[in-house]
Amino acid sequence: MGSHVWRPLFVIIVLVIAILISRFFIVPHDFGIRGKGYMYGWYREGNIEDWKNVKVKYQGKDYCKDCHADKFESILNSPHAIIQCENCHGPALDHPSDPPKLAIDRSRATCFRCHYPLPYPSSGRAKIKSVDPDTHNAGIECSTCHNPHKPNLAAQ
């Protein structure tokens, strides 16, 4: 073969080598094919750890139990026992160090998530006691009269 073949071929070989070298540095070393193969298992393995390291924000009601034992006990003896503390008090995060105080959602809208009347057949919603928000003391926070931890007025 003459130099008219070798010269462009040489350029191509150099280019390919340059691309392979830069690829070696750019692509993370844990990137590759695993598990079920190229179609579903072609990924950077370190990303699994990245996701595992995401911070947990909702701690669950057992996290509240020791310091707020009185509140924890009172709600347990009410129909609201099934509701998590954090559903109204917001995610605990690292409370009490960060944040020192949790913002409580006392809005009427929070209560009407369950207690707005939607008597839907074949849904559990139909079985929940409800009031019409337009006629039942409109504009006043429900917690003015109903203690959310002990919502039955007769029991208070």
């Binding site: 990137f31 695993r34 598990g35 079920k36 179609m39 579903y40 298992g41 072609w42 990924y43 950077r44 990303n47 699994i48 990245d50 996701w51 595992k52 390291n53 995401v54 911070k55 947990v56 924000k57 909702y58 669950g60 099934i82 509701i83 998590q84 954090e86 559903n87 917001g90 995610p91 809208a109 009407f112 998530r113 369950c114 707005y116 009347p117 939607l118 008597p119 839907y120 057949p121 074949s122 849904s123 559990g124 919603r125 929940i128 928000p133």
Partner: protein, 261 residues
């Protein structure tokens, strides 16, 4: 010296050979097509939704958005709750205002574009709520679509997205038959439910399962025969969404209706 006849023959043969995909030469193993619960590893996450128990309070959506840092006011969410209302006239309505982040606090159906349909309680034939989330398919089409390997299936069956690797092309969002994917407004990458991977790998329940007061959501390991979720899937009448797509979704529904898709 090559004859013209031979030259044409070789050209046709060569072109035909090049056009043949490598996959055509592979002998398909029928075992590969079954859901992989026999493979290595002790965990395969799966989800059960009981639509009879769901009351549409949306506390799961609120918890999910805060737990997974999906911007609260953006109209994007990893999980959402749909409301289906069948009227006695035979009309079907469905809505999910803001993904039901604030629950359903009106009997008006949100038709979109600021239009609402008022339905009287007496006109309702049946109505119910259906929570939705990523199905963590055994054969995830979103993963097949990704051109850069930024989304993948973990050995325990959860489909994750590598935010550092995603180029934001959006093919996966189009590939998902369930509409479970969206663009993260902050990171500008594809986003979806990952069964709270940071929680389930620490032995916690997902944020939505924990927040649900009615036990409408359950997560478990289908490789563990004693897991309550495995027992429900094996012994009760459960359905999956869009099974005809062959995606083998791993979110099982109790009380699924034909109109839900």
């Amino acid at each position: 010296m090559i004859t013209r006849r031979d030259f044409l023959k070789y050209t046709v043969k060569g072109a035909a050979g090049l056009a043949l995909p490598l996959a055509a030469l592979e002998i398909i193993d029928s075992k590969k097509l079954l859901a992989d619960i026999s493979g290595p590893g002790k965990v395969r996450w799966a989800f059960v939704v009981d639509t009879y128990k769901c009351v549409g309070c949306g506390l799961c959506v609120k918890a999910c958005k805060l737990e997974n840092e999906v911007p609260y006011d953006a109209n994007a969410t990893r999980t959402w709750v749909e409301r289906y209302v069948d009227t006695k006239e035979g009309k079907l309505y469905a809505d999910t205002p803001k993904g039901a982040r604030d629950g359903f606090t009106t009997n008006k159906i949100d038709l979109g574009l600021g239009k609402f349909q008022d339905i009287k309680n007496d006109d309702i034939q049946r109505a119910f709520f259906v929570p939705k989330l990523c199905n963590q398919c055994e054969n995830p089409p979103c993963v097949q679509a990704c051109p850069v390997g930024a989304t993948y299936q973990t050995p325990d069956g959860v489909v994750l997205i590598d935010r550092t690797w995603c180029i934001g092309c959006g093919y996966c969002i189009m590939a998902c038959p369930y509409g479970a994917r969206f663009f993260h407004p902050k990171y500008k990458t594809a986003e979806k439910c990952n069964f709270c991977y940071h929680r389930i790998t620490k032995g916690l329940k997902t944020a939505c399962v924990q927040a649900c007061p009615f036990g409408a959501r359950m997560i478990g390991n289908i490789k563990d025969p004693d897991d309550p979720v495995t027992k429900i899937i094996k012994t009760e009448r459960v359905g999956v969404l869009k099974s005809e797509f062959g995606t083998k979704p791993q979110v099982y529904y109790i009380g699924l209706e034909e109109e839900v898709s």
